[in-house]
Amino acid sequence: MSPHQPFITTKLDEFANWARTSAIWPMTMGLACCAIEMMSIVSPRYDTSRFGAEVFRSSPRQSDLMIVSGRVANKMAPILRQLYDQMPDPKWVISMGACASTGGIFDNYAILPGVDRILPVDVYVPGCPPSPDALIYAIMQLRKQIEAGGKAMVLAKNV
């Protein structure tokens, strides 16, 4: 935080960011195989409810985080964009898996080469599919980003 920012609003910002990180509610945007690993993070072994991200809201108007899990076909892209537009601010996007990040192993007419062609992405998770541990790590990185006010570039480091 800049030392020139006033004290009270800085503290309020920090409080707001803390509140946001502690309860990120993802939206169910399960498209393909990555969706199964995304469902696994709610399962008891890789429990995300201990991080506050337990409730998967189906309605975009009640969720904070869109985890694009799976390959994005050309037919699905406008729908994805509409859902993103329907989410209220502040909102974040995790692009889960190789297909959502770059098109993955499918380099053809049907698949969007990366969901960042239509949405701004905050965290990219590599893998085909990434294991649930990797997705939880991505959520942790996102929390760091949010805590830093969304202005810091948080680079993933080896733990």
Partner: protein
């Protein structure tokens, strides 16, 4: 190939099917063969309905699949393959059900095949898919529209002369971020 396929008992009964197909189709029957996996017949589109009636009468009640192959640069180019299985509903355990394959070869430039929609319940979607991906028209289909590709897509992707990456990439330039350069089509 394994011995069991050629000697399996149900194949013997299929000789009568071939006779009936010859009678019903006449010149629409191009060739019939006993391939390694099942018996098959290559026919022209005009012979499709008579052939299906013959097969239905012979007990083939499950239309397993309608698929298409593009044999460009060979002619005839399009092959629409119909796979049938004869399942005995009342049997305690279905073993070695007879199988049959019909291969329909429509015209290269204007491929038209009569639809099986009024005749067989499971034909609706596969025919739409073949129209979508190969451009083969099914005469008489109630709703012959694209099913897998977006509705405004141009071209038929699974044809051999359609490039793998398509003519251009959608959402390439002018996307919200625009930081990813468009891919050169092959």
């Amino acid at each position: 190939m394994s011995e069991t396929l050629h000697s399996h008992p149900n194949r013997a009964g299929l000789a009568s099917v071939l006779e009936r197909l010859r009678d019903a189709l006449g010149e629409n029957l191009l060739e019939a063969a006993s391939a390694d996996d099942m018996d098959e017949a290559a026919i022209l589109p005009a012979g499709l309905h008579p052939a299906v009636n013959v097969l239905r009468a012979a007990g083939f009640n499950l239309l397993a699949d309608i698929g298409a192959t593009d044999h460009l640069p060979l002619t005839p180019r399009f092959e629409i393959s119909y796979h049938f299985i004869a399942i005995d509903e009342t049997s305690k355990l279905v073993i070695d059900p007879p199988r049959y394959r019909l291969r329909v070869f429509p015209d290269d430039v204007n491929p038209v095949v009569p639809t099986l929609c009024g005749v067989w319940l499971s034909a609706n979607w596969p025919e739409r898919e073949i129209y979508d991906l190969f451009g083969v028209h099914f005469d008489g289909h109630p709703n012959l529209t694209r099913i897998l590709m977006p509705d405004d897509w141009q071209g038929h992707p699974l044809r051999k002369d359609y490039p793998l990456r398509g003519p251009d990439r959608r959402f390439a330039a002018g996307g919200r971020l625009g930081s990813v350069p468009p891919v050169n089509p092959t």
